[in-house]
């Protein structure tokens, strides 16, 4: 997030798109509710009538995958009505003229055809966003899990840039990170394109820095993504060994059958986890890790706050911290630099190599008060990014055009399936599913179907149906609810018994290779 | 009308919740779960909050037969007059009791739908207008009741026949400041009981920033033994309207509301007719009496049965559709009233007095009082007395004069044992203290207060502990439940007056005193502060009766 969580109580206009925040980030959502109670207006763009939509002043139930069209038309309205922040544009951005002339073509009427919402509502959304002072954007995977995920994000950046809503209290562009330490995984360099602290792998100086630190020549170009790696599993000149730490790849990733086959074709698969997950079951060796309440460590939240995790009880059985297990394997392979004695030593090494953590160490984060970047020991942290300048100079407008999803509905697969999460479950339920009481609230997966569709398709509430995509089919119980719009159904992938990700995976964003989990044409038929 | 039509009709108007709930309650005879859900969605009030608010009010029914089932007054005076017996006889019609419904100068009132019937027994119930004040027995110049007995007084021509709206006409010919000065000089003060100077209140609202401002008439006359506002509104509605328009002119207010208690259904019709007449005559509406920019629109909001809504903070919350708790003060309504904007909240009697004062002058009004006291007060006199009714007395009149000379004294062969003050809120006066004069300084020096001016007479037949128990039960029933001293204190005092809680006199007294002193010192509003005056005065005048009660509990 560009802005701290506390800023969420201060927007004048809230724009939530592709975020089911009350279910996926419930505590953050409480801050938006407070802002609304204080008089803020909220626009929610989401195909479904999620709880956030019920709280909204304007709900735009756009067709899945039509975000770019909506955002272009909003930009069109803002530009046409003179609601741009000229001073901000001149002082801090580049390529604005090209962008402003680009959006002239994309009227609300045009977008209305694609998004399947009234042009007047799109017009209103543009006006409200442009008039908001400040206007803040919140998004989650509903924006990124598309073949045009990058386009979606850049379209949002364009909106924030043209209205000067960056670097100010209550504004900003705020992706809500999904997992407790997904931000931290990136911070630590567990990505193929960045070393720790977002130092680019393609930058020779950075590669040089880490080569020196690690005592080995490291390539000065990015590695392949997980998606590519899985595609290459078992192939000639492909991937033959994988070390997986704490991920139930088979259940959470798209195209489950492909994923399972990939892992099964490896020569060597080592999995570190708390439980014998569906993924661990495919491994050659499984190591028991310590988890929550047993592990000392650090994690970074969605507002870049670096916080301490503390062990409260002894490790269960012989389980060990992940870092210890990884270090032990590395040592046995003869890799130098893994003589860590404690989590503190690991974290402090990270700080010494990461410019955003340079001012931090294990002891300084005792009280959770730092939000990175913290470039030196005298720095008090950076709750709000982009306040005076952008890291890379000027904010660049991007010229984006609308593209259809990778797969669109047709006679064979006439229904849009979109997937997501539910409040009571976390991902594949390895933890929530093993905590008592959660079943009382959510005991099974269901397919949410609009009442009109249920009638048209002759489906009863509670009936099991067959749902098929181009990749596979599953059986799932129907729940009739107004929450789903006509023509679109929804399910989560939490329950292993209803492996929704057998169906998904029709396409990937060409830049990030994030899968289009939010759009998947399906066919629903009676059993 | 369908739910949706009802909601659409009201949702963009001020104070929509109570009108919407009443419309559905009138249509369906009760408020169903479904209706509450629809209103919650339509008015965007969280469901649990709306449910809480609906269950707060005594008169909203949640099942059938609801509104149509008889509600029988079992107030303190009606209990003396057979209210409980009537309730019993109407049990077959699903009759339920209701607290004092403001007709203590008449037979027992029974509410059937939107009509009030009165009678001494269930068989003799009849629908008729409420009693007019008797001609002033002291032959003293009156303010409020000056013309109330004139024929057709409730119509616009009837009102205008004696100079009605003349005061308003001269006021708008001059400045708002001049009107405020006039009211200030008259020394008119809040006749609902609080006694705050009316001119000062109007000036505070006139000076307060924020628009639109409101004039709210507190017509939620809920104090047991008080029925004066009923008489004014039923027989002289234009006097109230003129007072409100004057207040609006003085303060620059555009919105007016009469918050009328549920138990006065016929008066809603009478007031509405008068408002319609005033609108037609350009006494209400836009550019009133030709004065450019002087706009004032008046509406009636019907309450739903909650004594606490006579407390101004609760009243404002109730109008706003919030839970009707008293508000924390400061801030006060003069700056943060209806919708947190400057608001005058005045009692019916206060506003009606202002109409006369605007016509006859400040000096005239001041001089109506005896000795150093300014003006008059309507006393609602009821209970064991020859001629119960509303009497407009000059401040400073001896209580004995009112009781004996004006109202004919005790019933044949009886003596007056005690009287209540301020309805029930002032507790009892008895013994030598019955020699008070009717003004706040004198009555307060006797540990009580005059308040809204309700006096219930209890003669020598009455069991004083029972009377105190009934009074405290009322307060417990009406406690809103927000502040601890009142919520728990009224309950514990009621129990102690009922069965004595197995206590010896000394311990009983000790508990009563401790509860009383904490209620008086720390309660959040007047209800909790006043309720212990009942037990305090009972202990002061009737310790023997208490000892008797404790040794022979019920």
């Amino acid at each position: 997030m560009s802005n701290p969580l506390r800023d969420m109580e201060h927007p004048d206009l809230i724009f939530c798109i592709g975020t089911n925040m009350t279910e996926c980030h419930p505590v953050a959502a409480t801050r938006l509710k407070k802002a609304i109670a204080k008089g803020a207006k909220m626009i929610v763009a989401d195909p479904r009538e999620i709880h956030l939509a019920k709280l909204a002043d304007l709900h735009l139930p756009i067709r899945v995958g039509s975000d770019v069209a909506l955002l272009l038309a909003m930009a069109h309205v803002i530009a046409r009505e003179g609601l741009i922040d000229r001073e901000f544009i001149d002082a801090r951005t580049a390529d604005s003229e090209e962008f402003l002339s680009h959006v002239k073509d994309f009227t609300p009427e045009w977008a209305s055809e694609i998004c399947e919402v009234p042009a007047a509502d799109i017009e209103k959304a543009g006006l409200w966003f442009g008039e908001g002072s400040p206007s803040a954007i919140f998004y989650t995977l509903g924006i990124t899990e598309h073949i045009c995920g990058v386009d979606n994000v850049q379209s949002l950046c364009n909106l924030a840039l043209m209205t000067g809503n960056l670097g100010i209290e209550g504004g900003g562009i705020n992706p809500m990170r999904g997992q407790n330490n997904i931000q931290g995984a990136g911070d630590c360099g567990a990505v193929p394109n960045n070393f720790p602290g977002f130092q680019p792998c393609g930058d020779p100086a950075s590669a040089e820095k880490f080569s020196k630190a690690y005592g080995i020549d490291i390539e000065a170009n990015p590695g392949i993504t997980k998606v590519t790696a899985l595609d290459l599993c078992g192939k000639e000149n492909g991937i033959h060994a994988i070390l997986i730490d704490g991920e139930n790849t088979v259940v959470t990733d798209p195209d489950m059958n492909h994923c399972r086959n990939a892992l099964q074709s490896l020569d060597h698969l080592v999995v570190i986890d708390l439980f014998l997950t569906e993924t661990a079951q495919l491994a050659d060796i499984v190591f028991p890790a310590t988890g929550f309440a047993e592990t000392d460590g650090v994690q970074t939240n969605t507002e870049r706050r670096v916080q301490r995790l503390r062990a409260a009880v002894p490790a269960v059985g012989e389980s060990k911290p992940d870092w210890w297990i990884i270090a032990q394997i590395a040592q046995r392979m003869g890799t130098p630099g893994f003589e860590f004695e404690s989590a503190k030593e690991v974290f402090n090494e990270l700080c010494s190599l990461s410019p955003i953590y340079e001012g931090l160490d294990w002891d300084r984060i005792e009280n959770s008060e730092y939000q990175w970047p913290v470039p030196d020991k005298d720095h008090s942290g950076t709750p709000r990014l982009h306040e005076k300048e952008f890291k890379n100079g000027r904010g660049l407008f991007k010229i984006i055009g609308y593209r259809d999803p990778a797969e669109i509905i047709d006679d064979e697969y006439p229904v849009w399936l979109t997937t997501g999460r539910r409040l009571q479950s976390y991902h594949s339920r390895t933890q929530t599913g093993r905590s008592s009481g959660i079943d009382y609230l959510l005991s099974e997966e269901t397919l949410e179907v609009n009442p009109d569709d249920a009638k048209a398709w002759n489906l009863e509430d509670g009936e099991f149906v067959k749902m098929a995509s181009r990749r596979g089919e599953i059986q799932i119980k129907v729940r009739v609810t107004e929450q789903s719009p006509k023509g679109t159904v929804f399910a989560s992938f939490s329950f292993a018994s209803v492996p929704v990700n057998v169906l998904t995976g029709g396409g990937y964003d060409p830049v990030t290779q994030t899968a289009e989990l939010k759009v998947c044409p399906v066919r629903i038929s009676k059993l | 009308m369908t739910d949706q039509e009802i909601i659409e009709h009201w949702q963009d108007q001020d104070a929509p919740l109570l009108p919407v709930l009443h419309a559905i309650h009138d249509r369906d005879d009760y408020l169903s779960d479904d209706a509450i859900r629809v209103v919650s969605k339509g008015l965007r009030i969280p469901l649990a909050e709306l449910f809480a608010t609906v269950t707060f009010y005594h008169h909203f029914s949640r099942s059938k037969p609801g509104k149509s089932a008889p509600r029988v007054c079992t107030g303190n005076v009606c209990c003396l007059n057979g209210g409980k017996e009537i309730l019993e006889s109407l049990k077959s019609e699903d009759a339920t009791p209701m607290p004092c419904s403001g007709r203590c100068d008449d037979m027992v009132p029974v509410l059937r739908g939107d009509q009030v019937f009165v009678g001494a027994t269930a068989e003799t119930l009849e629908h008729r207008p409420s009693p007019l004040p008797a001609p002033n027995p002291g032959n003293i110049d009156e303010c409020i009741f000056r013309h109330i007995r004139a024929p057709k007084r409730h119509t616009l021509p009837g009102y205008q026949a004696t100079g009605g709206y003349g005061g308003l006409k001269s006021a708008v010919a001059s400045t708002p400041a001049a009107l405020i000065d006039l009211i200030t000089e008259s020394k008119l003060a809040g006749r609902g009981g609080a006694g705050f100077p009316t001119g000062v209140k109007w000036k505070a609202v006139a000076d307060a920033p924020g628009d639109p401002k409101s004039i709210v008439c507190n017509a939620d006359e809920g104090e047991p033994g008080c029925f004066k506002d009923r008489a004014i509104m039923e027989h002289d509605p234009h006097a109230l309207i003129e007072g409100m328009v004057l207040a609006a002119y003085a303060t620059g207010s555009q919105r007016g509301f009469i918050y009328l208690r549920y138990e006065y259904p016929e008066i809603q019709g009478i007031l509405q007719t008068a408002i319609d007449e005033a609108n037609t005559a350009n006494i209400l509406g836009d550019n009133i009496l030709g004065k450019d920019g002087f706009n004032f629109h008046l509406r009636i909001i019907r309450g739903a049965g909650a004594y606490i809504c006579g407390e101004e903070g609760s009243l404002l919350n109730s109008m706003e559709g919030k839970h009707p708790f008293p508000r924390n003060r400061p801030p006060f309504p003069v700056t943060h009233g209806f919708e947190d904007l400057p608001t005058v909240v005045n009692n019916v009697e206060t506003l009606a007095s202002a109409s006369q004062i605007s016509r006859k002058g400040a000096e005239w009004y001041r001089r109506l009082g005896l000795d150093d006291h300014a003006g008059t007060k309507v006393i609602s006199l009821s209970g064991d007395i020859q001629r119960p009714g509303n009497y407009e007395v000059p401040f400073g009149l001896p209580l004995q004069t009112l009781l004996n000379d004006w109202a004919g004294g005790p019933l044949e062969g009886r003596t007056i044992q005690a009287v209540t003050m301020a309805g029930l809120s002032g507790g009892f006066l008895a013994g030598d203290d019955l020699q008070v004069t009717l003004d706040e300084p004198c009555i307060r020096s006797n540990g009580s207060f005059l308040g809204a001016g309700g006096i219930i007479v209890l003669d020598d037949r009455r069991d004083m502990v029972s009377a105190a128990h009934e009074a405290m039960s009322f307060f417990a029933h009406e406690s809103c439940g927000k502040c601890f001293p009142c919520r728990i204190g009224t309950q514990r005092l009621t129990e102690r007056l009922n069965d004595g809680a197995n206590l010896e006199f000394a311990a009983w007294q000790d508990e009563i005193n401790d509860i009383g002193s904490v209620m008086k010192a720390t309660s959040a509003c007047g209800l909790g502060m006043a309720a212990p005056l009942v037990t305090e005065s009972l202990l002061r005048y009737f310790p023997d009766a208490i000892e008797q009660h404790l040794s022979h509990p019920k």
Binding site: A185, A241, D284, G437 | H477
Partner: protein
């Protein structure tokens, strides 16, 4: 939070005889609290709008006849305030005796909830006579509500409205409110339904703010009779990316409950159903306790660490030998701490000289 805006006026008042400074807009209670005055309260929660129900916080203000509720009264320049004297103590004692008289039970286990000891502690602090003001009890426990998280033991409810207010003001769910009024006030959902059938999300904030244990953490209270002291360890929730601060409650070697950290910067006392109640997977019998090695027949066998680590290392070495550095890939976790992610990327970069490392953010 407690940031002082540049334009805030600094004023002075007299507090128990001392001149003290305060910022315009502060309540008497806030000023007194800052000066460690120990003004008692039951309906106060610093995160909520002041409510003024319990009246325990009343203080004397010179020039005002009755004591005023310090939580709802703003401090003003020159105000002379007394937070403690015999009269105030007497009122507070009487109020506490009255409150104690409406409950079935004023001693509850600390596992009931974060604030559950507040009433009990005040009853100890003041010279309260047990059994005074005996009478009808308020509140009806709703033990039919079979939800596994929140015990609704309203026999111990004192109608302070903290649960109602926290649900509305903090959580924004408005799931609970009251029914009726006065002594008959009952905390309830709409129409008296079970919590599951209301808009309750089981965030547990009502439990955390309840000062009497009328709302009790059903999961934590299971460990009431487990021997040992309750220990609290500050940590962070491991579900979504918001990073709510929590206290892990333990007895011996067991995690017995979670409480929100009121001073947690991300959550300020809030949690959700997962963070609050989904913790006992830690001790689930499915937890792996030893390394597993796959056997020829495809099944796993438990192994000692040394053997498993050696085999893991050998497997990686073998693949490197056969296929080179670009044949091994690392997938780090978005759930594990930094030390895991950092070690994973170092395992690949320092071990192979490649950037063949990713995490689960693409799914």
């Amino acid at each position: 939070m407690n940031q002082i805006a540049d334009n805030t006026r600094i004023c002075t008042m007299t507090l128990d005889g001392d001149d003290v400074k305060f910022c315009e807009g502060e309540t008497i209670y806030e000023v007194a609290e800052r000066h460690s005055k120990e003004v008692p309260t039951l309906c106060y929660d610093p995160r909520l709008e002041a409510f003024g129900a319990c009246r325990l916080c009343v203080v004397e203000v010179e020039g005002i006849r009755n004591p005023v509720a310090s939580c709802t009264t703003k401090a003003t320049e020159g105000m002379i305030v007394r937070t403690k004297n015999d009269t105030l103590d007497k009122h507070r004692t009487t109020l506490l005796e009255m409150v104690a008289s409406e409950n079935r039970n004023n001693t509850v286990d600390e596992l009931a909830g974060y604030a559950s000891q507040e009433l009990g502690n005040l009853l100890k602090r003041y010279p309260v006579l047990p059994g005074r003001f005996a009478g009808k009890k308020s509140g009806n426990s709703n033990t039919d509500d079979l939800n596994p998280f929140i015990l609704r033991d309203y026999d111990n409810c004192i109608s302070c409205y903290r649960c109602v207010r926290v649900c509305a003001e903090q959580e924004g769910d408005h799931a609970i409110n009251v029914m009726n009024r006065g002594f008959d006030t009952q905390i309830t959902t709409e129409f008296g339904n079970d919590l599951r059938d209301s808009s309750c999300t089981f965030c547990g904030q009502c439990v955390a703010t309840c000062p009497t244990g009328a709302l009790t953490d059903k999961k934590a209270i299971r460990a009431k009779d487990t021997p040992g002291e309750v220990k609290k360890t500050r940590s962070v929730c491991i579900y979504c990316g918001v990073g709510c601060s929590i206290d892990i409650l333990t007895k011996g070697d067991r995690v017995v409950g979670i409480q929100p950290a009121m001073d947690g910067p991300a959550n300020e006392g809030a949690l959700c159903v997962k963070g609050q109640y989904a913790f006992d997977f830690v001790h689930h019998p499915d937890r792996l306790t030893k390394p597993l090695i796959r056997q020829k027949d495809g099944t796993f066998r438990e192994a000692e660490w040394d053997e498993a680590l050696q085999k893991a290392a050998e497997g990686f070495l073998k693949v490197r030998e056969k296929h080179g550095n670009h044949a091994t890939y690392g997938i780090a976790s978005g759930r594990a701490p930094h030390e895991a992610a950092y070690s994973m990327q170092k395992f690949i970069r320092a071990g192979y000289g490649t950037n063949y490392i990713d995490n689960c953010s693409r799914a």
